[in-house]
């Protein structure tokens, strides 16, 4: 059984102007040990797909109009809030784009991490080396020690001391390590990373990528890595899914898709990567004539499928 199996996922968002279809039939399967890069332009639905897996979209605006999202065989679209909360942190970890805004500025790192660890340990006390019958204080101490150990293993020296510090006392790269540690303290099986390196400089970015790669090797987790950056995909991912306007237009192993892209949109996306020697007039975007051709090709494929 696949770790994550999304099939024919449809999502609409409600607004004052009515309901707009956002995701129009997403199919994606993530196995343990795979790192799926999800690429596509802004607004293509990458992040909403990620948030859907943890069901973090507000019920008032998001409406799932079809399909299913099987995590470990269970459909999260039909799970209650209670079951979802048990999945979050404990089975599905998430990290987001901007490490400067994703840590609560008013609380010490340790406070936030211990709360995350304690929550995850409610369903899986073993991750803190507990049996589930310890006192509150013993659980807290175990959560604290596990947090320190994890931060140390993520390359934060003097973690014991740093746990007592506030987020603004850390650099961006360190904060992202802390956030990854918070996401991993519950030992989840799936990590959803929503552009975790976009806000970081290139050298810190490669450290974070190496960390994620190490996690996959050590813990055999599945990763869904959402990004704009095809270079990062080539470096880190084993598979790639290319999204365009709420659909996955091409998917497969990175080596195959990036070397020989089949879909016109994937080719356009790769052509848009600037080279070191590019001049202003050779920079290629996706302009309207090209967009019309992409639309035409997608419409043609859709007809083929129905025919």
């Amino acid at each position: 059984m696949a770790l994550l199996d999304i099939s024919d996922l449809h999502l609409s968002m409600r607004s004052f102007e009515g309901e707009t279809p956002i995701l129009k039939g997403i199919d994606l399967t993530v196995e343990r040990g795979q790192i799926w890069g999800v690429v596509g332009e802004t607004g293509s639905g990458k992040s909403l797909t990620g948030l859907t897996i943890s069901r973090l979209l507000p019920n008032t605006t998001a409406r799932y109009t079809g399909g299913q999202v099987l995590f470990d065989g269970k459909d999260v679209l039909r799970a209650g809030e209670r079951d979802m909360r048990a999945l979050r942190g404990g089975r599905i970890g998430m990290i987001f784009q901007d490490p400067t805004t994703n840590l609560n500025p008013s609380f010490r790192i340790g406070t936030q991490m211990v709360d995350a660890a304690l929550h995850a340990a409610r369903d899986k006390p073993a991750i803190l080396g507990l049996t589930g019958r310890e006192s509150r204080r013993a659980r807290r101490r175990a959560a604290w020690q596990a947090s320190v150990a994890l931060l140390e293993s993520f390359g934060l020296h003097d973690a014991e001391d740093r746990m007592a510090r506030f987020p603004h006392e850390f650099s961006g790269g360190m904060r992202q390590r802390v956030l990854i540690a918070m996401a991993m303290i519950g030992q989840p099986d799936l990590l959803i990373a929503d552009e975790p390196t976009t806000a970081l400089d290139v050298s810190v970015q490669s450290q974070i990528l190496r960390l994620i790669h190490r996690l996959v090797e050590e813990r055999n987790i599945g990763v869904m890595f959402i990004t704009h950056n095809l270079g990062v995909v080539a470096q880190l991912c084993s598979h790639v899914a290319v999204m365009y306007r709420g659909r996955i237009v091409e998917r497969g192993p990175v080596s195959k898709v990036l070397k020989a892209p089949e879909h016109i949109y994937t080719r356009a996306l790769m052509d848009a990567i600037p080279t070191a020697r590019a001049q202003m007039d050779t920079l290629r975007g996706i302009d309207w004539p090209l967009r019309d051709r992409i639309e035409a090709e997608i419409a043609a494929t859709a007809k083929e499928v129905t025919a």
């Binding site: 942190g89 805004t101 609560n104 008013s106 929550h119 956030l179």
Partner: protein, 335 residues
């Protein structure tokens, strides 16, 4: 931290000095004849001159100011032209009364306003939110004296639950004076009967005074909670599976309160200046009533004294707010 507090407290002194010059000048330069008023309508020029000499008002204004200032340093706040009582004695009696009222009103406003604002934000656009929004709009718009009258009609006249006015029954002795706050003094000497009586008298005026700050705090709290709930770190905390009550009452609350705190601090001065009407209606013997009478009688020593006391309370409050801000928000550095 300690140094910062000491420095901020020391800075109060030059501020008060400057303020005393301005207030003294305004009070003395205003048209009017306080000496004539004090001496009485039929006073002969000799009597007027002797009254002026008695209060030192025959000297040039800078000399008068100097005398006032040196007196102030020895605890002498001047003498009322009418009652001939020292202003310091009056202030010692009336300031605690007003402060007790203001603090009680502020406590009600904070204790009720902050949780209600938080709930209104959580149930945004729900019935509770609409209800508190409408009621708080009315509470801000309604004049305090009118609200006071309504409260008197309902709880004192119709239901007869609470006394109509006053700070303590005339036929009883208030608790022995330690701080001048009847409630605090009653607790300190363990007189529970007096505490009950004092609280009964405090309830209605404090409620009338609290409603407007309560509504403002509620709305501020609602707005800042909504803003905090949209922050990235709240999404991260939810993605970690942290239970929503911990997210709300621990992680959201502290961030939202620190934004509301500034408004609460500003309200202290608003309340101090705004007690006049409430004190009048409830016959509450505080500085509002006292200063109104002094202003109308051109009795300027009490006016200067009250102004300086209010300024002092306000300055101390702003230091306290800054310290609390630093406690709540680790990014605030005190220096």
């Amino acid at each position: 931290m300690l140094w910062y507090v000491i420095r901020r407290l020391l800075l109060i002194i030059p501020t008060l000095l400057g303020l005393s010059v301005i207030v003294f000048a305004i009070a003395r330069l205003l048209p009017g004849d306080p000496v004539g008023l004090a001496a009485g309508p039929n006073a002969t020029p000799e009597v007027i001159a002797s009254v002026a000499a008695e209060f030192g008002l025959d000297k040039p204004i800078p000399v008068q100011y100097w005398n006032y200032l040196t007196g102030l340093l020895q605890g002498d706040w001047g003498v009322s032209l009418f009652s001939r009582r020292p202003v310091a004695a009056d202030l010692a009696e009336f300031v605690p009364a007003t402060l007790e009222l203001v603090i009680a009103a502020l406590l009600i406003a904070v204790i009720v306003g902050i949780p209600l604002g938080l709930l209104a934000a959580i149930w945004r656009d729900g019935i509770f939110d609409y209800l508190t929004r409408t009621v708080s709009l009315g509470a801000i718009a309604m004049p305090r004296f009118f609200l006071g009258l309504l409260l008197q009609l309902a709880f004192a006249m119709a239901l007869n639950w609470l006394p109509l006015s006053g700070r303590f029954p005339l036929i009883e002795f208030p608790p022995e004076r330690i701080t001048g706050f009847y409630t605090v003094d009653a607790i300190l000497i363990g007189d529970w009967h007096a505490l009950g009586v004092a609280l009964q008298h405090l309830a209605l005026p404090a409620l009338a005074l609290s409603l407007s700050p309560l509504a403002t705090i509620l709305r501020m709290m609602r707005a800042s909670t909504i803003e905090v709930l949209q922050q990235d770190y709240i999404l991260t905390e939810r993605a970690l599976g942290i239970p929503s009550w911990i997210i709300l009452f621990k992680y959201t609350l502290r961030n939202a309160v620190s934004a509301t705190l500034t408004v609460i601090g500003l309200y202290v001065s608003w309340l101090l200046g705004g007690t006049v009407l409430v004190e009048t209606i409830f016959d509450w013997p505080g500085i509002g009533l006292y200063s109104t009478q002094a202003i109308l009688g051109q009795d300027f020593m009490p006016v200067i004294g009250v102004t300086l006391v209010i300024a002092m309370i306000y300055l101390v409050t702003s230091v306290i707010v800054d310290i609390l801000q630093a406690v709540l928000n680790p990014k605030v550095r005190l220096q």
